[in-house]
C-alpha cells in the first residue's frame, strides 16, 4: 500500500491472471451436444406440430370453420402443456427436447403453470396470481409491442401506396 508503482504492477498482474483464467474456463467447457439437441428438438417439436395438424384436419372435417378449428387446436395444446406440467412430466420432456418443447404454445403454457404451481404456497393473490406471468410476461410484452409496431407499419404502408387502411 502507498507505493503507486507497486500497486499498478499488482493490478496488472491480477488482470493478467483473470484473463488467463477466463481463457482456461472457456477451453475446458465441454461443448453442448448440438447435433443431438437439434435432432431431439426436431423430433419432439415436430411430433407436437404433427398432433396439432392431425387434430386440425379432423376438426375442419366437422362443421367448424377454419378460424375456430385453429382456436380449438391451440386450446388443446395449452391444455396438454398445462396438465403435463402439473403432472411433473413437461420438465422431463423439456430436458430432452429443448427448443422443441419450448417454442410450441404448450411450452408457453408450461412457463405460466410452472411458476403458478411453485408460488401457490404464498397465497392465491400475492403468490399464484402475482407470479403467474413472471416468466411469460416478457413474451407478452414483446408480442403486444411487436404487433402494435407491425400494425402501424402496415397502416402507413397502405396509406402511402394508396390502399385502404
Amino acid at each position: 500500500m502507498g507505493d503507486p508503482l507497486r500497486d499498478s504492477m499488482r493490478a496488472s498482474l491480477e488482470e493478467a491472471r483473470k484473463k488467463e483464467y477466463a481463457a482456461l474456463i472457456e477451453e475446458t467447457k465441454a461443448p453442448p451436444p448440438v447435433l443431438k439437441n437439434m435432432v431431439m428438438a426436431f423430433l419432439v417439436g415436430g411430433l407436437i406440430c404433427l398432433i396439432a395438424q392431425i387434430l386440425y384436419a379432423l376438426l375442419v372435417g366437422t362443421n367448424l370453420n377454419d378460424k375456430d378449428a385453429i382456436t380449438v387446436v391451440l386450446l388443446f395444446l395449452i391444455f396438454c402443456g398445462s396438465v403435463l406440467t402439473g403432472l411433473g412430466v413437461y420438465d422431463k420432456i423439456g430436458k430432452v427436447a429443448g427448443a422443441g418443447s419450448v417454442v410450441p404454445i404448450s411450452g408457453f403454457a408450461n412457463s405460466v403453470v410452472a411458476p403458478a404451481l411453485e408460488w401457490k404456497t404464498e397465497g392465491l393473490i400475492a403468490g399464484l396470481c402475482a407470479k403467474l406471468f413472471s416468466l411469460a410476461g416478457p413474451v407478452i410484452v414483446f408480442g403486444v409491442t411487436g404487433s402494435v409496431i407491425l400494425g402501424l407499419i402496415k397502416y402507413l404502408w397502405l396509406l402511402w401506396t394508396g390502399g385502404v387502411p
Binding site: I25, A97, G98, N110, A114, P115
Partner: protein, 332 residues
Amino acid sequence: MIHRSSFLFPAPVYIAGGAAVVGPKEGEGPLKEYFDKIYPSIQSAEESWEKTEIAMQRDAVNLLLKKTRSEDRRVDLLLGGDLINQLTITNFAAGERDIPFLGLYNACATMAEGILLGASLINAGYIGSSVVVVSSHNATSERQFRYPTELGIQRPSWSQWTVTAAGALLLSSALSKIRVRGCTVGRVVDYGVKDANDMGAAMAPAAADTILRHLSFRGQSSDDYDLILSGDLGSRGLDLLKTLLRKEEILADERFQDSGRWMYFPKQDVFSGGSGAGCSASVWSSYLLNCFREKKYRRVLLIGTGALLSTISVGQGNTIPSIAHAVELERV
C-alpha cells in the same frame, strides 16, 4: 509472508459426532448407508418445501443430540445457516430450540464457517460445546436462485445439482476421536466468472487461494494430508482447482476430492456434481466422520467453498464473488 486469520488451536477442540438427513435422490447415491435418515420425498408431510427443509434441520439436530447423548440445555451455542433469503430455514428451526443461536451465511461454505467459529469460541474458552447445522434443498434453492422446478428447460453440462440435505456436527472441548486442529479464514476471490451455472469455475480460485494460504501457514505441502476435501466444486471445479494449484507447483493428485462428486453416482444425471450448503454439511457429518472412525484417514483438510451470488447480483450482470474456508482435522 504474514499469515492473517490462519490459526492452530492450542486448546483441544473435538468433533464429538455428526448426523445427516437427506432427500430421496441423495438417498439413492453411493453414500446412502451413512446417512441417518432418508426422506422418501422432497416434500414429506409438510405443506411446503421450505417447511420440509426446516424439518430436515430439526431432524438432523435431534438425531445428533440423540447419538451424542446430549440435549438442548447442555449445548452452549447453535451455529447454523442455509441458502434461503434472510436464513429463513435456520431461523425457524433455531426458534424451536433452547440454545443461544448465531445465524451464518457463506453460501455453500457455511458448514466450514460454522466449524471455524465454533472451534474458535471453544478454543478461547467462552463456550464448551456448539452444534453447527447447515442445510439446502433442491427445490427451495432452484425457485429462489433460478427457475421454477417444473419449467422445461435444458441445463449446461457444467451446471450442478443442489443437494437436498441437512448436516449437523457437535463440537466440544470434551475428549473424543477427531480433533479440529486449525483453520484458515478465506478471503473473497473473484476471477470474473459471470455464468451462474458455472459455480465450480467461480469457486475454484477461492479454494486455491485458501489452500495455498493454509499450506504456507503450516509450512506443509499437500502430501502432508491424507485427504483434501472440497465442499461442492463438482468435477469441473475440482479439475480447475488442480490446474490452478499445479501452476503454483502444488502436488494436486488423487488426495484432492470433492464432496459434491461423492454425493451421487454419475448416472444420477447431476451434471458436474452436487452443490449447496447441505452438500458439504451432510457428507462431512456422516461419511467423512465414518472414515475417521474406520481409520481411513489421519489428517484431513476440509475446504468449504461458497459462491456468494444472489438473484440481484446475477440480474444486474455482476460477477460471482466466491469464498473458501479451510478446516484441518486430525484423528487423535
